[in-house]
Amino acid sequence: MTEFEKQFQEVQALLEFKDYNQVIKRLIDFTLDSESIHYYQKTNDFLDWHDTNEQNEVEKVTQIKQLIDELYAFLSQKTCHEHQTFISVQNLQKIYNSSFGLGPINLDIKSGEIIGLVGENGNGKTTLLRSLCGELHPSSGTISYHFEYEDAFDLRTKLVYIPQRTATWRGSMYENLEFTASCYGYLPEENNLIINLIITRLGLRKYRKHYWNDLSSGYKMRFELARMLLRKPKILLIDEPLANLDILAQQTVLDDFRTIANSAFRPIAIVLSSQQLYEVEKTSNQVVFLKRGVQKNLLTENESHSNCVIEFESSLTISELNQKLLQLQLLSLEQNGGTYIATFPGNFGINDFLKLVITEAIPIQYFRNISNSTRRFFVN
């Protein structure tokens, strides 16, 4: 089964569960995958109809099914894109001054992947992103780009970087997007169609006529993302994209990243930095933890620290907890803010922990196995 067929089945399932919002997003993805003005137009016609007939479920389902079937027939003929390594980073070091240096960093970034950069403030996440996009020259080590580019400028057009504080857009949002699309060679007849698809995909349909100052930070970030997607990047580097989003919006954006990166026909690599550890870990293929500029790879660290680490919240005191958990070969128990971090030997599992909680009637509000999470690095 090809990647596209898997995605098609997912959409069928979403349709069955009447998750129309997700279905429409995926429908737009398939339409963009088609790279055909015919389908751009058809999906846009449907979206225009949908604006005023959202409640007409029967007709909506019929139209969606019809469109998806047509797109399936068309896309089945296309060859899926094989994932390849876009960027290799070897021993990258960037030394600003004696007080801070990034690296050495070793990393391979592949198409279709999301790489999460996590770490506390001032630990080099932005420096690494800026180095990857060519804005900073490494003090030592190399960054190799495994795709074709003519010169330094051409390379940087393919490495799209969205800083945490995006520059103000002048003029209307829509006009800016039209300009971007036009610069990137979209045909005049497909320009507006493709923009409409992308802004609908990113939930900006209602805001297309707005101006920069009329938008919240979250929507500004989405517009920036829409603009970047029009640039057909090889790699998208985003600094703290979740910083200004509420929890629901964070999950939506990360889901969007997931599907955008993992397109069967137009895969890109996304590198994003964030402090939202849990959300990033859920979405990312690789997580790079940076501590004082030094890279900590989860896999490597796990090999040397194969303990079971559980984070939980409880109303008991640390001494009460210690007394109860000692029955289970507890190696250490730390208090970190309002949460406790309990470390057990590697052969210990989360089920063993839960059994004890039930047996001892330990009141817990929250728990998480962080043995395979970079969360460990934050608390250690």
Binding site: D151, A152, F179, C183
Partner: protein
């Protein structure tokens, strides 16, 4: 219309849309059309001099104000998007086209006076054809002898001035005059004859035969001389018919333009035609009201009236010759001047070039680099200017600027070739862009200065042929420099595109 054009451009030609080239070119051309019509209005000639239209100052002020407003609005719209700074895909020549568009827009906006001047000149020309104007000017010029033509100088009396002895040999004084660089002192001691010779006949210094005719630009110097001799020949040969025809033609012009005179052919002829000596004529006042035109009142210091009392020059007769001359001079100049002033075009080209480079450099670098470069250039100029002034040497200034230009070019070249970090090359790039316009003019000035100095080696009068050649080709140098700059910008814009790809730090 603008909106639909812009929308089409936005979808098809994003660079043209971004620079707002089409609307600005249309606006620039509209400015030119308006200024052309204002110039046309300014070129209205009232030959009776009853109404005067002078809107030049207002037209220029209005033009400057309109251009400033247009430029501000244009820049606000232009600066909304910068695809280069955002690392959007760009062709290798895209930056060059962008500069070219800026240049064309600024040139169109700033050169409106060319159209004003052209409109004025075309209207002035439109009154009479070239041949007709020439014919009419010839009548006015020739008749000047019978109105208020100026008296020419007479020959030096060499014997009385002590330049030759009674045998006709040159004295030491004349030899001294030939070699002495301060011959002006000797000039003052010279004595002039009080008569002239025409075809071997003596006439008094203040006779009609020693009067000159008025010169119009439409009549060549050679033709002027021939016309003057022709009229004097009529006097010499007593050709009354020819003189009367000239006077009739002249009075015809006066009547045609409804100008004032109390002369008739008979009274005029009677008052001025005093054959055979032509020295006891009456002076005809060349104006009806003094200072009515700039050329109304011209009193020749050594001329005296034969009419008593002696301090009154003019007789009771007048004719509005001043206005006739003034108006026809305007038409004459309109015909002889070029419709487009070549030197003015060069000035506008360089104005547009400098402004477009200021704008272009701001677009391709950062605002911070641009500002630092501007301040640095100001400081450098002040320092070098002070040292140059202390040493009273323009070569020092130009030499220093050349050295700075070469130095910063090397630095930029090093950064570009190494392709590691930009460092301060953003500031340097601004300076290179601004100074490259002056690269050839600086070299020109240094070479000119070098040859100018050499003239002192051989004495006061010596001007080296190289210096003369260089001065004669001053405008040519600027034209060549302009072409050179287009070539330089073509190359530089491609380099800047690649330079932009270099890491910031």
């Amino acid at each position: 219309m603008f909106t639909s054009i812009q929308k089409k451009l936005l979808l098809e030609k994003p660079l043209l849309w971004n620079t707002k080239f089409i609307p600005m070119v249309i606006l620039g051309m509209a400015f030119h059309v308006v200024q052309f019509f204002l110039g046309w209005l300014q070129g209205t000639i009232d030959f009776t001099n009853k109404t005067k239209i002078n809107i030049e100052f207002s037209a220029i002020s209005f033009g400057i104000l309109a251009v400033i407003i247009a430029i501000i609005l244009w820049l606000v719209a232009y600066f909304k998007n910068n695809s280069f700074k955002s690392f959007y895909k760009k062709s290798k020549n895209s930056l060059f086209y962008e500069w070219l568009q800026l240049f064309v827009v600024i040139f169109l906006l700033s050169s409106f006076y060319l159209s004003f001047s052209m409109g004025r000149q075309l209207h002035e020309r439109s009154y009479y054809s070239y041949e007709d104007t020439q014919k009419r000017c010839e009548i006015i010029a020739n008749a000047d002898i019978f109105i208020d033509g100026f008296f020419k100088g007479t020959e030096v009396d060499s014997l009385a001035s002590g330049l030759i002895d009674s045998l006709g040999n040159k004295t030491a004084k004349i030899k001294r005059q030939e070699i002495d660089s301060f011959a002006a002192a000797i000039e003052e001691e010279l004595i002039y004859k009080d008569y002239i010779l025409f075809k071997g006949k003596k006439y008094k210094e203040y006779s009609l035969l020693n009067r000159g005719i008025h010169e119009f630009s439409i009549i060549s110097e050679e033709a002027d001389s021939l016309n003057e001799i022709k009229v004097k020949n009529w006097l010499f040969e007593n050709d009354v018919t020819a003189v009367k025809k000239l006077m009739t033609d002249y009075l015809g012009l006066i009547n045609e333009h409804q100008l004032k005179t109390n002369l008739t052919l008979e009274t005029w002829f009677e008052a001025t035609y005093k054959s055979p000596e032509f020295d006891s004529f009456l002076y005809i006042s060349p104006y009806f009201k003094e200072h009515e035109t700039y050329n109304s009142y011209r009193y020749h210091q050594y001329e005296t009236s034969i009419v008593k009392p002696y301090d009154v020059k003019y007789s009771k007769y007048y004719i509005q010759q001043d206005i006739l001359k003034d108006k026809y001079e305007t038409v004459s100049v309109a015909h002889t001047n070029n419709l487009i002033d070549f030197d003015a075009v060069i000035v506008y080209l360089y104005l547009a070039l400098s402004c477009s480079l200021l704008l272009f450099s701001f677009r391709v670098s950062s605002g911070k680099s641009w500002l630092i470069a501007l301040v640095s250039l100001g400081i450098i100029n002040v320092i070098i200017g002070i040292f140059g002034a202390l040493g009273s040497s323009s070569s020092f200034y130009f030499g220093s600027m050349l050295a700075i230009f070469i130095g910063i070019s090397f630095y930029f070249g090093k950064i570009y070739v190494e392709a590691k970090r930009k460092e301060i090359s953003g500031i340097i790039l601004n300076l290179i862009l601004w100074l490259s316009v002056y690269f050839i003019p600086i070299i020109y000035n240094l070479v000119t200065d070098y040859y100018k100095k050499s003239e002192y080696k051989y004495g006061y009068d010596y001007v080296s042929p190289e210096y003369t050649w260089l001065r004669e080709h001053f405008s040519t140098m600027f034209v060549l420099n302009f072409i050179f700059m287009i070539f330089v910008l073509f190359l530089l814009s491609r380099i800047i595109r690649n330079w932009k790809g270099i890491a910031e730090n």
